[in-house]
Amino acid sequence: MTAAGATRRTILRDALAIGLATGAYGVSFGAISVAAGLSTAQTCTLSLLMFTGGSQFALVGGAASPGAAAAAAVLLGVRNALYGIRLAPTLRARGLRRFAAAQLVIDESAAMTVGQARADAGRLAFWATGLAVFACWNLGTLTGALGGEALDDPGRFGLDAAVPAAFLALLAPTLHGREPWAVALGGAAVAITVTPLVPAGVPVLCAAGVAVLAGTRGPR
């Protein structure tokens, strides 16, 4: 097998693994959403149309005040714009393809794409991860919503810890040298510090400031 073939196989395998892990979490989203009072149709619509986990949890968590919850969800979604800026030169998606690619710009696909050394591997990683997560997340959501209260405590299976672990596995390949470590830890520290002070979802956005500071003021 060629080196490119091996890379390709690794990318597809990792994409599927990320999809399955996200699907398991999608089950808990579906169950939590229905438990919060959304209908099964609303729950599945969110996973199909919104398709960005953090925003979906933000909306569902604020069922008491739909307007504020919607604002928080969009605010959380702003980070996908930041990912898009990073991914655009690699993806070079034009026309209708860009509208399809846009829906797949999420934490998982962004992390998998920036982890690749070559642009063609990055594009494969983006589409494979995005589509695997989209399929599994929506299937998981439907399963969870239909299962309803049968899985009312996803914490019992440790699913809430599986998500940060997945993010850690995605972050690890980017941690070459002192600067990315400092930025990752700085982002974590900022987010934790402001969590009691600002609405849900905002702490992660505040962490973006660390990247802006490091990128504009750091050593060349």
Binding site: A17, A73, A162, L168, P203
Partner: protein, 100 residues
């Protein structure tokens, strides 16, 4: 939850994604923009890990999730495949909660 909130928030989130992909190439080509963009996922992933492990969304909470993340860190360090990393975290957290 109202359908209006579901649909408006969904459209808003999609437009965020589309806007990112649609920023003109010359803006993105600036070295500072590239540096910031390269560091953004690093900072955001760090923040996501921290808030989803050590907070309940409102305040600092140290619970079984922290042990799960530690297990995941060991798995990453040992170069375990992705599913093993995620599985180690979930299993550790579930086990601790079952024992508690």
């Amino acid at each position: 939850m109202t359908w209006a909130a579901v649909l408006l928030a969904s459209v808003g989130c999609y437009l965020c994604k589309l806007a990112g992909l649609s920023v003109p190439a010359r803006v993105v080509a600036a070295p500072r923009v590239q540096r910031v963009a390269a560091l953004l996922p690093v900072a955001l992933l760090g923040a996501l890990i921290a808030t989803q492990t050590f907070t309940d969304g409102r305040e600092l909470v140290i619970d079984a999730r922290a042990a799960g993340l530690a297990a995941a860190a060991v798995a990453v360090w040992r170069r375990a495949p992705f599913l093993a990393v995620v599985g180690a975290a979930a299993a550790t957290t579930a086990l601790l909660r079952a024992l508690a």
